[in-house]
């Protein structure tokens, strides 16, 4: 029982990351009809926004400390962050400690701009091109983006911890009346889940309740007609691309304390996020979210040792197995529309 509750928690948490990435991917696909292989790279760049902000906050000048020596036996150089000078050491440390949450503010404009530039500069020209071309160009872009990040930040993962206040874990078990320590879950992962839920909710609300969203939804359903109505869909689609980039970026920022970011984290998520989107049904936002959580939960259950004892290796293939079963029983994924991406 405890084990099952725990894996459901895990599944929701994993699922929220999958759903967030798949959501952005579907937004782009649904509105612009573009298969964006660079979406994982946007997620990765989001994570590196957090790394960059924490680098900016810890920008330092060096002071030679005669009392210490470095590894070669020379007097040690000690880095003193500028924020110490600006705010004093205690406040400075607190600011550095809060780098990841602060990065949210930093990442939104950065990601929007990256999204706009990408759409105007490149993607725009590919709306009418075959999907194969879209795949190749966005895949090329993804490689370029990750190689650029690798050039500046190296290949090694970069630890980007959550603020001290959010370390440790919450004991659900004790709260629910089980023995303590049986069902614990880290605070930051709970925050991630809540954050993802808010973002997903906000995107849905935005599309559901604003005129802008209405037009975009109409455009998703039938682009030509909306165009005929004299509505400037293009500008709205640019904004949607920026929004999707921001969603991916925020997913990345918040993910950094969970796993240290590295330059290939986008590629690691790419295949998975496409599987999620397709299982959900190409172009369906609720489908993407549903599939994200479904696959997250199933993956968690498949990693239980009780399950693995019976079916060794199931954890290796569960995502793909589920994808195959769903696609064979439901031709267009969970909530896909007919005729989308079937040619």
């Amino acid at each position: 029982m405890e084990a099952i509750i725990l894996q459901i928690l895990n599944g929701l948490d994993k699922g929220s990351a999958y759903a967030l990435i798949a959501l952005g991917l579907t937004l782009i696909f649904g509105t612009l009809g573009v298969v964006n292989f660079a979406h994982g790279a946007l997620f990765m760049i989001g994570a590196f926004c957090a790394v960059t902000l924490s680098r900016i906050l810890t920008l330092s000048y060096t002071v030679v400390d005669e009392t210490k020596t470095d590894f070669l036996g020379n007097p040690a150089k000690v880095d003193v962050p500028y924020v110490y000078d600006l705010f004093g050491q205690a406040t400075g440390d607190a600011i550095i400690d809060w780098a990841v949450p602060l990065s949210i503010l930093f990442a939104i404009p950065v990601m929007m701009v990256i999204g706009f530039v990408m759409e105007r500069g490149l993607i725009k020209h590919f709306y009418t091109r075959p999907h194969a071309d879209q795949i190749l160009v966005t895949f090329g872009l993804a490689i370029v983006l990750q190689e650029v990040i690798k050039y500046f930040y190296g290949a090694n993962p970069i630890p980007t911890p959550a603020p001290q206040a959010f370390t440790g874990s919450f004991d659900f078990g004790a709260a629910l009346g089980f023995d303590p320590n049986l069902i614990i879950y880290p605070y930051w992962r709970i925050i991630y889940f809540v954050f993802a839920a808010i973002i997903i909710g906000a995107v849905f609300a935005f599309l559901q309740f604003t005129t802008f969203g209405m037009v975009v939804r109409a455009g998703m359903a039938d682009r030509e007609t909306v165009g005929l109505l004299g509505i400037n869909i293009d500008r709205r689609f640019t904004i949607m691309f920026g929004l999707a980039a921001a969603v991916a970026g925020l997913a990345g920022v918040m993910y950094t304390p969970i796993n240290s970011p590295n330059y290939h984290m986008g590629m690691d998520f790419l295949v998975l996020s496409f599987v999620v989107v397709v299982v959900g049904g190409m172009g369906s936002l609720p489908g993407a979210v549903l599939a994200g959580f479904l696959l997250g939960i199933l993956e968690s259950f498949a990693s239980m040792r009780e399950v693995l004892a019976v079916l060794p290796g199931l954890n290796q293939i569960i995502i793909y197995l589920v994808a195959i079963i769903i696609l064979l029983t439901r031709p267009r994924g969970l909530m896909g529309r007919k005729g989308v991406m079937e040619e």
């Binding site: 190749l136 496409f274 599987v275 994808a323 696609l327």
Partner: protein, 399 residues
């Protein structure tokens, strides 16, 4: 000739010429010049050019003709390789049965996978094939370790005693063709040039030419026409009384067998298999080769395969010291500056160059390298014919 139209026969002749003379063509620079770094005429890379050419030709039969984008084709290459190496480990070190085994195993696997995945089309098909390939990879890496060797893969060991061989005790078996070692080479020294004619390469090259010939025949045959008809209009296809699925399945299996042939040849040239051969990036690579060269064209996939393998093997080996050697003639400050500019794109930065190349090709040459060649040819012809007409870049898709 050979049942081909004149144009196709000429193309086949050109490809045959290029392939057979590859040891010369790929080694244009004298050994002692700085440019020798760009020589690609050594056996391993030449073998890879033609083997991955086969892989891409086969992939193009499926993707180029029917429009079904398989994202898991590397699985067939991998399975073919495993089939071939087991044949060598257990039965015979001769490459023929091993390659044959690779084709058969890959064909059977493709039949099974295709039977299931071809129930869907479009991206749903792509994801289904991807799922099968990723499952194959994951299982080969982990729980199937007893069969696949897991991470370290399979090699021929001194303890392997194939049935039809008479190895000495402790001797490690080698791939051969009726006694001819795949690594046997004939070297030709001409002045400062060294040309290597490798047995393995020529076997692979003959296989490639045969595959290429077969591909032309398939492209030009009514069967190829059926496949193009499937890509063009499946509705009309079924309302014309034709069942599209078995046609597509046949193309899928043929394409899988091409991959198996490539896998078997890889093992024949270099007797080892690792599971990464089936990872999704390897499947992606063949897609990129085909698109880069020109989807649906005959020669495109071969060119694309060559371009990517060349970058992977030549560009990645240029390091800072090599650059310093090249630009040693410049004044020190300028030399360092030039090297700083170039360095991110070569050596460990070769992925960056690859990414940029993909983007440039797809932006400016939607028809891939073949279209680039056609434009170039047109431009040259246009200049010769009349200057006022001028070469006008057109964007019509490459044939």
């Amino acid at each position: 000739m050979l049942g081909l139209e004149k144009k196709d026969f000429q193309l086949l002749l050109v490809v045959a010429g290029l392939t057979l003379l590859a040891p010369f063509i790929l080694n244009p620079f004298p050994e002692s010049s700085g440019m020798a770094q760009f020589n690609a005429g050594y056996p391993d890379l030449m073998q890879r050019f033609v083997i991955f050419g086969i892989f891409a030709i086969g992939f193009n039969i499926l993707f180029g003709l029917t429009g079904y984008l398989s994202f898991g084709h590397a699985a067939f290459l991998g399975v073919g390789s495993y089939g071939a190496i087991w044949m060598m480990k257990l039965i015979s070190l001769n490459v023929i049965p091993a390659i044959f085994m690779g084709i058969v195993v890959a064909g059977i696997f493709a039949l099974a996978v295709g039977f299931i995945t071809l129930r869907r089309s479009g991206i749903y098909f792509s994801i289904l094939t991807l799922a099968f390939a990723q499952m194959s990879y994951a299982l080969a890496y982990s729980v199937l370790t007893p069969i696949t060797g897991g991470e370290t893969g399979l090699q021929i060991k001194s303890t392997d005693r194939p049935l039809l061989s008479n190895l000495e005790e402790g001797e490690i078996g080698r791939a051969n063709l009726f006694g001819m070692d795949m690594r046997a080479s004939f070297e030709l020294n001409v002045g400062d040039w060294l040309f290597t004619f490798n047995a393995g390469y020529y076997i692979a090259a003959i296989a490639m030419l045969a595959s290429f010939y077969l591909a032309i025949r398939i492209f030009r045959s009514p069967f190829g026409m059926m496949l193009r008809a499937i890509k063009s209009n499946q509705t009309r296809m079924s309302y014309t009384g034709l069942n599209p699925r078995p046609h597509t399945l046949a193309a899928f299996v043929i394409s899988g067998m091409y991959a198996g042939l490539a896998g078997g040849l890889l093992v024949a040239m270099d007797t080892q298999v690792g599971p990464e051969r089936m990872f999704w990036t390897a499947s992606g690579e063949v897609v990129l080769m085909t698109i880069l060269g020109g989807v649906g064209t005959l020669i495109g996939p071969v060119l694309g395969a060559g371009a990517i393998k060349y970058m992977e093997n030549i560009l990645s080996k240029i390091n800072k010291d090599v650059l310093h050697q090249w630009f040693a003639f410049l004044p020190d400050g300028l030399e360092d500056f030039v090297i700083t500019l170039i360095y991110p794109f070569i050596g460990k930065g070769w992925h960056l160059t690859l990414g940029i190349l993909f983007m440039l090709v797809v932006i400016y040459l939607p028809g891939g390298l073949v279209e680039g060649g056609q434009r170039l040819a047109r431009a040259l012809r246009g200049k010769k014919a009349s200057d006022e007409d001028g070469p006008k870049a057109s964007t019509e898709p490459a044939e």
